[in-house]
């Protein structure tokens, strides 16, 4: 057994079970914690893919920011409904649909020559080349992304600020 494969399998198992925990758990705080672990496992997957930089980014932004923001929101909107979150009435259909998507996509991956004939060596991505590529080739999307963040910032302030008015 290849060492990489073992590590990969373990992380994947943790990832998928945590992900299932997110969507199945009845307690929303548990879901948020499961999400945190799932996101950390994704960082592990990135490490297996020899992408340390992105693993760090994943930990910082997803683990450090997004989950914290979610927990923050949960605290602020403390709600007695949280420990007994219900499913949609249509959840069996949702389940069937997801399984169908799962099967279709998996079959297509197995059927695809291009995917199966891919090389088996993982090439590491250097942070330096990543950086230079980000600021040269991808400069325009980068600028745009900064505007997106600006909009999100302004929007969050506009929406959440409690000022005069109201009903």
């Amino acid at each position: 057994m290849n060492m990489h494969l073992v590590i990969f399998s373990v992380i994947s198992a943790v990832l998928i079970s945590c992900a299932l925990g997110v969507v199945i758990s009845r307690n929303i705080v548990h879901s948020a914690l499961f999400l945190l672990f799932a996101l950390i496992s994704v960082a592990g997957i990135y490490l297996v893919l020899l992408t340390e930089f992105l693993a760090i980014v994943q930990l910082l932004i997803y683990g450090g920011a997004i989950v914290i923001v979610i927990l923050f929101a949960l605290m602020l909107t403390r709600n007695e409904e949280y420990p007994r979150i219900q499913n949609n009435k249509l959840w069996p259909i949702a389940g069937i649909l997801s399984v169908l998507v799962l099967i279709t996509l998996s079959v297509s991956y197995f059927q695809s020559d291009v995917i199966r004939n891919a090389s088996t060596t993982i090439s590491p991505a250097g942070v330096k080349s990543l950086g230079s590529s980000l600021f040269t080739t991808w400069a325009i999307p980068f600028e745009l992304a900064s505007l997106v963040l600006l909009v999100a910032l302004i929007g969050a302030i506009v929406i959440a600020r409690s000022d005069k008015g109201g009903n």
Partner: protein
């Protein structure tokens, strides 16, 4: 041996779980969490493709990684905005369940 398809299948699993979460859950916050799972599935796919196929064919740079960075950025912004909205709704209505937003029926 680790192959590209392993990562693809992992990503499919994660995507389907996220999809189930979006479709089956009621709470807006939970739906957003499930969407985050879907976006992570996307990222795994991108990085795996870039890592395995780097150097061959049209793959001459780090597109996959770059795409992932952007997606993470946008996702973070999206969560921030969505949670601000949820906070606002909670202040106005004291609920965050999507199916209790029922003012707008026919």
């Amino acid at each position: 041996m680790l192959e590209l398809i392993h990562f693809n299948i992992l990503s499919v699993l994660l995507f389907s779980v996220g999809l189930y979460g979006v479709l089956a859950r009621k709470s807006a916050i939970l739906i957003i969490m499930a969407i985050e799972l879907m976006l992570n599935a996307v990222n795994i796919n991108f990085i795996a493709a870039a890592a395995f196929k780097h150097g061959g064919g049209l793959f001459t740079n780090f597109d996959g990684h770059i795409l992932t960075i952007f997606i993470i950025t946008i996702a973070a912004a999206e969560v921030g905005l969505a949670l601000a909205l949820i906070l606002r709704i909670f202040r106005n209505k004291s609920t965050v369940n999507v199916d209790q937003f029922d003012m707008m029926k026919l």
